[in-house]
């Protein structure tokens, strides 16, 4: 695609989606739950894009910041219930990191409802559907994130 064609594109145009919700999920629980949801034909919003991580403990805060600065309207993080981490404490590390990140998002003008951390076990396909549906509708209420169109420094 040449530059001028590229310029005419609008965010979401290629997918026909009004929202971009990124779900950064743990391989051992939430991703497996998504598999289960698929097998049992449970639907979740098509605006959600799942990105699989080996553990929520490997989600650097920069990944989350990058999602928002590149125009994500919401970032969902799904990990194992406390005590169930495949690597013992990755989910707990993710939790304390996100706790510390929230004031930074606030300073950047990103409402805290745009970032959600949930614990979803491998067998909780139904919970995955509910959480992603609920989160997406909450993000929709906030509207598109302003970083999407903004020329950032």
């Amino acid at each position: 695609m040449n530059t001028q064609d590229n310029l005419k594109r609008h965010p979401g145009e290629e997918t026909g989606q009004d929202l971009n919700v990124l779900a950064l999920v743990c391989n051992w629980c939430t991703y497996t739950a998504a598999d289960l949801a698929g097998v049992t034909r449970l639907k979740y919003p098509t605006q959600v894009k799942l990105i699989r991580f080996m553990c929520t403990g490997m989600i650097d805060v920069r990944y989350i910041l990058r999602c928002f600065l590149e125009g994500a309207d919401g970032v969902f993080i799904g990990g194992c219930h406390p005590g169930d981490c495949h690597y013992l404490s990755g989910n707990l590390k993710a939790r304390v990191r996100i706790k510390g990140l929230r004031p930074v998002l606030e300073m950047a003008g990103i409402p805290e409802q745009r970032l959600r951390l949930s614990w979803i076990g491998a067998s909780e396909g139904k919970k995955l559907q509910e959480e992603l549906t609920g989160f997406t509708s909450e993000v929709r209420k906030l509207g598109p994130a302003s970083f999407r169109q903004m020329h950032l420094v």
Partner: protein, 365 residues
């Protein structure tokens, strides 16, 4: 506080502190002193490692300047073997930064005698040099004239942590007639030991001193709350943040000057940040244009995310910014919420672990 004594100053409180520091070396309690000193070619006091008694007696421990944060240098000097024991004279913010560095294994506090002072604030380097040409005795006059203290950096004027906490010897300056006397307080086992060797006699603190501390606390708190509110209001929107950092050149001075930003190889300065021309064109095409250098919002937010919990509020980031971005205001305001959220106060004590390693199944921090 009862571990407190008064020392006669004979007009120059700085010289009194010098004699005290020289005493530490003469009694072989330390091998050297890290404090501010003026060199032969500039009037700007810079942190210096002083080994000779003569040099120590000519140093400027109370000079209201901090050309750079001395914390990183104290940390570096302390990493040596035990035969190098150093007395480090630090501002309260530098002391807090040093304690943070010690938690991250960047400093060995057992090699240091920690000395700090009640800090009315530091002048920006440029302002220090200007005022010094008008007041040759600036280092003394500064403590006697409130109008000179009002010239301190904006960060200092809204700093509420002006009394050192994790310290062995404290230099007490508030509410005293410094032409006559200064106070010395001592803390912790090391402080007690030093007081014994230096033969300090415990005395009473006056009410006027307590009153002066209270008054300064109230004024500073007021200024800080105003600054915090203003920063939260003006900056914490997507547009507000962009306006605030809009002039950023990407020089990374703020990161280098930050005493607690300790990585030797910063993630922001690594090659991973570099993009090939195709990627730049792709990003430019998406929004029609791309400001260069790219990703400075990402840089500042990353620094906030990494360091806000440890921000000691020294203001060096603002001081070194060529574009005068109010970085310290942004950092301190964000840091205040992060620190409250995590129940953490940076620099309080080396025994308090950094919040990111305090996690448990039940709850964090």
């Amino acid at each position: 506080m009862h571990n407190f004594t008064l020392i006669k100053t004979k007009g120059d409180p700085g010289r009194t502190v010098n004699s005290l520091l020289a005493g530490l070396v003469e009694k072989e309690l330390v091998q050297g002193v890290l404090t501010l000193a003026v060199g032969p070619f500039s009037s700007l006091p810079m942190p210096s490692l002083l080994c000779s008694i003569e040099q120590i007696k000519n140093s400027s421990p109370l000079a209201p300047a901090a050309g750079v944060s001395a914390a990183v240098h104290a940390a570096r000097i302390s990493r040596g073997p035990e035969k190098f024991r150093t007395a480090a004279v630090l501002r309260p913010c530098e002391l807090r930064a040093l304690v943070e560095l010690a938690k991250l294994n960047q400093a060995r506090l057992e090699n240091l005698v920690l000395i700090s002072m009640e800090c009315p604030g530091r002048l920006e380097n440029r302002r220090y040099l200007e005022l010094r040409s008008e007041h040759p005795d600036l280092d003394v006059d500064y403590y006697l004239h409130p109008d000179l203290q009002a010239e301190a950096s904006g960060t200092c004027l809204s700093c509420t942590d002006f009394i050192p906490e994790y310290v062995h010897l404290g230099i007490c300056l508030l509410g005293l007639d410094l032409k006559q006397e200064i106070g010395i307080s001592w803390h912790q086992e090391q402080g007690e030991e030093l007081a014994r060797v230096m033969e300090f006699v415990s005395g009473q603190e006056s009410d006027s001193r307590r009153q002066a501390i209270k008054e300064l606390e109230a004024a500073r708190k007021n200024a800080w709350l105003n600054l915090q509110e203003k920063t939260a209001q003006e900056i914490s929107t997507p547009e507000g943040l962009q306006k605030a950092i809009g002039d950023c050149l990407g020089c990374f001075n703020c990161q280098r000057a930050c005493p607690v930003c300790f990585c030797r190889d910063c993630v922001s300065s690594r090659e991973a940040f570099e993009q090939d021309p195709e990627e730049l064109y792709d990003r430019g095409a998406r929004k029609g244009s791309l400001r260069l250098p790219t990703d400075l919002t990402m840089f500042h937010l990353t620094r906030l995310a990494h360091m806000a919990h440890a921000c000691v509020g020294c203001g060096q980031c603002s001081s070194v910014c060529p574009s005068r971005i109010p970085l310290a205001d942004i950092f301190r305001t964000t840091g205040a919420s992060t620190q409250e959220e995590l129940g953490y106060r940076p620099g309080r004590s080396p025994d308090e672990p950094v919040p990111l390693v305090r996690f448990s199944e039940e709850k964090d921090t």
